[in-house]
């Protein structure tokens, strides 16, 4: 087969078959695209309701179909012209086709399987090719096969066989693949797509989490209609935002080799103190005047820092494993709200005050804030966009040169990254400009806003309100009120969470302190020998957890201004699960905050999705357990770093 590319005169049956196959694929996909455009094939909503307008599923089908056509044509012609890179094209188009077929199959078969074991009954399309009704005791379920499933199956199987054929005829050097580094290593040229993906995943700490996240997202998004809607997404993100903030601290602590099981109790205690400071002052030492809410916030943070410090101090002084220390403080700190709120009643803000606290400050601060944000976005754009552009251009230039067959994929990815970064910055820029412009007319007047709303208020998230430039029906984009708190329950804590994640991710990976955290967790003897104060690092990390817990507590109270003595119960195990699913090693020395986000999102999706799909809520815990084990196995096998 190689001879086909090297010798103009040889004819290879295999190459001809693949070329022919690709011509066939291109013709078929072009045909299907035409049918969708003309309306002969109805997909998505149109399949169930008769409407003339085209929808997103159909648009994506059209786009994908056209891309397939172009790719297959290019492959077929390439093979015919004995262009070496076309062999890589053949592999990759087969691989992509295989994946697409698999996921379409999953989206049609998956819901049916879930339906068999839960309460949901997926909607049966109007004209299935075959259907049958099964009886399970009192439930009946209908399973069916429709045209799309058959199409997906054909797509999957044919591409699978073509893929196997092309892979069997590629020579690759295992050792070279093992040692391949960087985007332009020549070893990458000889890698099959599955090896390439495995190579990329192996570099990342959260490989298992990424795979799991995509799988779970797809399963639930296709199995349940309500899962895709903004209210469900909003409630998932809100749920995970405060937990995610605490999980950041747990991740960093775990990387440095320690555990903190007391976070749930800390949360309850800090939330209690926050509420207490605002409503009653500090009654047990005689202060009966409540404090200003903002002062209460700072005092609550101090409490969190103190509780964290106590954990770290006990660990460092006694040498008892952190697992035991925090197990003890878990119980001790839990006693605090139980003692302080006698009778186990809920301490409610509204019991003491008629209105929620507000803050008033000159509008010029809002305007100033807007201006600063605009400048920050522009600054980020100036620093990163030209860099991405240069890298994309570099890859484009090197793409066709001898030996770089896979350059095409990497080039496309580089351009995609550039475009997405530019779009994101553009959206943010327009939002911040409209924010500034909205407040500018009132610049001389005072601005009053609810404190709890700033901390964790609700807002609507629609394209019109954020990307002011893309408004269709709204009044002029500068008249949008970015602090409009509407129906859906997206909450500000999500923004704070994302900002904190970005901040701590940078701290962990790009500062000296971050390096010392990894060293302390990876080999504390080595860290000490190199001048790092191991005890100081550990105490600081415990205080960091305390700090993040107090932030989370404040946001929780802002969302729901009532504190009960059991607030935060059970959080500690969820935190550990999220962190570990995200790829952080339990033994320390390795991990990522971004991975913990994935872990958190997986949790949130499972939490909401299982309920929407109708599964028994008790099964939720069981499913989490399975996912946890599977994720850790994936993380340790896919990664190349030795875990010893």
């Amino acid at each position: 087969m190689r001879a086909h590319f090297e010798n103009k005169n040889s004819r290879s049956g295999l190459a001809s078959t693949i070329a022919f196959y690709n011509f066939g694929v291109s013709a078929t996909s072009l045909f299907i695209v035409a049918l969708v455009i003309l309306g002969w094939i109805a997909l998505g909503e149109r399949a169930n309701i008769s409407r003339r307008d085209i929808n997103t599923i159909e648009i994506s089908a059209i786009v994908v179909g056209i891309a397939f056509t172009i790719a297959s044509v290019r492959t077929a012609f390439g093979i015919r012209n004995r262009d070496e890179t076309s062999w890589a094209w053949a592999q990759w188009t087969a691989f992509v086709g295989l994946i697409v077929g698999f996921f379409i199959l999953l989206s049609t078969v998956g819901p049916q399987i879930i339906g068999l074991i839960s309460n949901a009954q997926p909607t049966v399309p109007s004209e299935p090719i075959w259907q049958a009704t099964l009886q399970f005791g009192q439930r009946s379920r209908t399973i069916f096969v429709n045209g799309i499933m058959i199409f997906a199956l054909v797509l999957f199987l044919s591409n699978f066989f073509i893929y196997r054929m092309t892979v069997a005829n590629t020579t690759y050097d295992d050792k070279k693949v093992e040692k391949a580094q960087g985007a332009f290593s020549t070893a990458i040229d000889d890698m099959t797509p599955s090896q390439f993906i495995r190579h990329q995943l192996a570099e990342s700490p959260s490989a298992g989490a990424i795979i799991g996240f995509i799988l779970i997202l797809l399963i639930f998004a296709t199995a349940s209609d309500t899962f895709r809607q903004p209210p469900a997404i909003a409630s998932m993100l809100t749920n995970i935002s405060t937990k995610g903030i605490v999980a950041i601290g747990i991740t960093i602590l775990m990387i440095s080799g320690e555990f903190d099981l007391s976070v749930g109790s800390m949360l309850g205690a800090v939330a209690l103190f926050f509420m207490l400071f605002m409503t009653e002052g500090v009654p047990f030492i005689g202060i009966t005047q409540p404090f200003n809410p903002i002062l209460s916030m700072f005092l609550a943070i101090l409490v969190g820092l103190l509780l964290g410090f106590i954990n770290g101090f006990i660990l460092v002084r006694t040498g008892i494993p952190s697992f035991i220390v925090t197990l003890g403080t878990l119980l001790i700190y839990r006693a605090i709200p139980l003692v302080a709120i006698p009778g186990g009643r809920i301490l409610r803000y509204k019991d003491y005050y008629a209105e929620f606290p507000t803050v008033t400050f000159p509008t010029s601060i809002m305007v100033g804030l807007g201006v600063i944000l605009v400048i920050v976005v522009i600054f980020i754009g100036i620093r990163t966009l030209p860099k991405y552009l240069r890298q994309a251009q570099l890859r484009s230039r090197l793409r066709g040169t001898a030996g770089i067959k896979f350059g095409t994929t990497l080039t496309i990815l580089a351009w995609v990254r550039l475009v997405m970064a530019a779009l994101l910055l553009l959206v943010l820029l327009s939002y911040f400009i409209s924010f500034t412009a909205y407040h500018l007319p009132n610049i001389s007047q005072p601005y009053t806003v609810g404190l709890f709303d700033i901390l964790n208020g609700q807002w609507t998230f629609t394209l019109e309100k954020t990307a002011g430039l893309f408004v269709t029906e709204n009044p002029s984009w500068w008249q949008i009120d970015p602090l409009d708190f509407g129906r859906a329950s997206f909450r500000n804590a999500i923004i704070w969470w994302i900002l904190l994640v970005l901040l701590f991710n940078t701290i962990l990976n790009d500062t000296r302190y971050g390096n010392s955290v990894f060293a302390v967790g990876g080999n504390s003897g080595a860290a000490r020998a190199n001048g790092i104060n191991v005890n100081r690092v550990k105490i600081f990390n415990f205080m960091l957890v305390g700090f993040l817990v107090s932030l989370a507590a404040i946001f929780e109270v802002a969302r729901n201004p009532g504190v009960d003595p059991l607030k935060g119960l059970g959080w500690e195990l969820e935190m550990v699960a999220m962190t570990v699913i995200g790829g952080t090693l339990l033994s320390g020395g390795y991990g990522s905050v971004l991975g913990t986000i994935l872990g958190g999102l997986i949790f949130a999706m499972l939490n909401t999705g299982l309920v929407q799909v109708g599964m028994n809520a008790r099964l939720f815990e069981g499913v989490i357990g399975v996912i946890l084990i599977v994720a850790v196995i994936l993380n340790t096998t896919v990664r190349r770093i030795p875990t010893k």
């Binding site: 580094q181 500062t511 390096n515 990876g522 080999n523 860290a527 190199n530 001048g531 020395g589 770093i641």
Partner: protein, 266 residues
Amino acid sequence: MKKTHTTEMLVEMRDIHKYFGSVRALRGVEFAVKRQEIIGLLGDNGAGKSTLIKVLTGFHTPTKGQIYFDGEPVSIDSPHKARELGIETVYQDLALVPLMSIARNFWLGQELTRRVGLFELLDHQQMAEEAGKALANIGIHIRDPYEAVGMMSGGERQSIAIGRAVYFGKKLLILDEPTSALSVGETKKVLDYTYAAKDKGMSVIFITHNISQVYEVADRFTIVSRGKTLGNFTKEEVTAEEVATMVMSGAVPERLRLFDPETDIA
């Protein structure tokens, strides 16, 4: 009469005692290192070599005795202080973090940074380049500075640890049992790095219990036994077998007693 110390001595440890409770690990050890010399510190297991070095590198403070460095009396109370003085150590467990990359390990504790706005961020590019160059200067070629140290063989890890010490060390390099787990070829490489350190102007303390490894490369030998200095000899004065005997038996052979400074003291 004891010699008054001259500035010819880089390190002088005088009458060092170290007791851990009732265990007397060091009982009046005398140890000196000249400038730009390679000295072998020998003794059987448990003789006190490691404790002596831990005192010199700041892990322990001596119960009694005084250390002189570069002619000045010093009190070395932390590994950081030892590093500041110009002492670099390659420990038996290498003090490398297996899950971290070579570049990060190389610069651990003294990472290179660049300013971004108000913040000091790690300069990964610079660290990788400098580490690669520094190691290449001594003859160690690494494939990829971002590769994790745990993925490398024992000999490669040893090279990186020694390379790091040679690069950062200004005055004194201490190698604690550097060849015990290595093959013949890897051992030879370690000896080459030792020469490279000496050429760079450093002194090297080579700790081992195996004379054959160090005999070739060292200028002098100090033998420690049961917490005391047994003897101090230049290479011309002893043979390898005699040193080995001294290490094993803990006694100085008759022939050499005349040269033993301890027995010369009035």
